[in-house]
Symmetry: C2
Subunit: 308 residues, 2 copies
């Protein structure tokens, strides 16, 4: 049976090249990267290569990237890690449309005594920048706002958010999980302080992700125990997973060239649905969206019924 | 070249059956278990099956097991999670020979205001039970002691530790990472409250582990964001990794039958080394060891030189 899989914002199919790249590290080269013998050192080299591949995709140096076990882990690491290190400031600013990792972590910090300010989006899914500008001041410990939204695909104004944060020396964590490999990203040039990406959203494996930590940004580890990842994340590295993420990042460099075609297909799908089915409308501002995402409202129909 | 790999306490080679079990979930069945369509539900079923396999190996019900991204993550989860939930008690008891995940996490809690009591082992690597008995009282928030030591292989007196903890209603977390699949374990019968195992130590993949949480034990999540693992660990599940861990657990059930043979080979290796090389001695009590581990001291030789 032919299947058209349309749930790539939930997870993607690992590319054949990704699985092929991982396999030797599940079979032949199974060493622990912390072991000094050649089994270990071969695994260590593989980590280094993957770090290079991912850093090329997101525009940073290799030493600014740490690997972890998933986007949720690293969003938790980023938000908690930066706060612990900057204790005098007690306000956190985030948006109303974040992934649950950001939203629930911030809510938890709210229960622990932080003031959490939630910036709304308008009916087109666009962030209220004026409100952001008015709440970010020298008392803010962290701004955590996504790069692109997973439901509407709307791209957030990262450049302006950076500007606002810089004016008050506020660290800015950007959840780039849905943006990476859909639009070109350069963390160094963008000026974000922290940014998270997850491999399984761009044809890499589940269970592996990377956190960008700008050089000079100080933070504490969430997972303690061992010198791995420069002491930022203890524990034996998931070598096959990291190798798969590296390969997926390499593939994404050429995949980005295909994105105009993806956008054209998405636009055609939307046009046909809007034309042929009455009482339908696209949710979210259409001129600033990642190319793979559509969000269509069907009046008087239940979402789950349509999905099934 | 024929190779004899002797670093299985650092990491093991994934079994061929494990890799074969994982592959379909890297290729064909790549759905997100949280998706309600059939791609997702197939992945969900795989998680359930793996949970059954692991719970059979360690003697507990499926609902008492949560999966995570590695032993270090779950040791951090266990120790922090239980402390947050029992705040009036401010003392932690651990041993002097724990894995760095336990040791460094406890040290960090020491800096955060907890009193950390470290129980020594004697020159045979045996835990000082009398000292443990004397320090565990109603002010202790958590005891975290390993089941078997990774360096000497010495098995710790879990039964007695449980007794001591129960007398003062102290939660006991047991790092069973090196014990599982080497000796039969039954967490329910043993009476531990929390216990951690990691797949890559018993021929499963890296980057996946499981935490046993006895029914009724309350703890907070470390990785927040999403309803996965009954709200105990947010984030898209590493389906291929968890499937691999399940298969490794199934294989370990029969692997346990081979352990007398492993012990006999280990004993022969030790005998030959002690006989043929002067100034050598076994470290650690030899009659209570996991069967795969030896620790031999070579006087006047550097460890790293021997290793290389």
């Amino acid at each position: 049976m032919d299947v058209v899989y349309l749930d790539n914002n939930a997870t993607t199919k690992p590319a054949a090249e990704v699985v092929a790249a991982m396999l030797p590290y599940l079979t032949e080269f199974y060493g622990n990267p912390s072991s000094v013998h050649r089994f270990g050192q071969r695994a260590r080299q593989a980590l280094d290569e993957a770090r290079g591949q991912v850093s090329t995709l997101v525009g940073c140096s290799e030493s600014e990237l740490m690997f972890g076990g998933g986007g949720t882990e690293l969003i938790n690491t980023a938000i908690r890690g930066i706060l612990t290190a900057r204790s005098p400031r007690k306000k956190i600013v985030t948006s109303s449309v974040e992934h649950s990792a950001t939203r629930e972590r911030c809510q938890q910090l709210g229960r622990e005594g932080f003031e959490v300010v939630v910036i709304d989006v308008d009916r087109d899914g666009v962030l209220d920048l004026d409100r952001l500008r008015s709440v970010v001041d020298d008392g803010v410990a962290l701004v955590s706002i996504m790069w692109a939204n997973n439901e509407t695909g709307v791209i957030f104004p990262v450049e302006q958010i950076v500007e606002i944060c810089k004016a008050h020396r506020v660290p800015f964590h950007c959840d780039a999980v849905q943006a990476v490999a859909k639009i070109p990203l350069n963390f160094n040039e963008a000026g974000v302080d922290l940014a998270t990406i997850a491999a399984h959203k761009f044809h890499g494996p589940k269970g592996v992700a990377a956190l960008y930590i700008r050089r000079g940004v100080r933070m504490r580890a969430l997972l303690i125990g061992g010198p791995q990842e420069r002491g930022r994340r203890g524990g034996t590295e998931n070598v096959p997973g990291i190798v798969g993420m590296g390969k997926a990042a390499e593939l994404a460099m050429s995949g980005l060239q295909q994105m105009p075609r993806v956008a054209a297909m998405r636009d055609r799908l939307e046009r046909e649905i809007l034309t042929r089915i009455s009482d339908t409308a696209v949710n979210g501002r259409t001129d600033q969206r990642i190319p793979n995402t559509t969000n269509i409202g069907f009046s008087r129909l239940e979402a789950e019924a349509i999905l099934l």
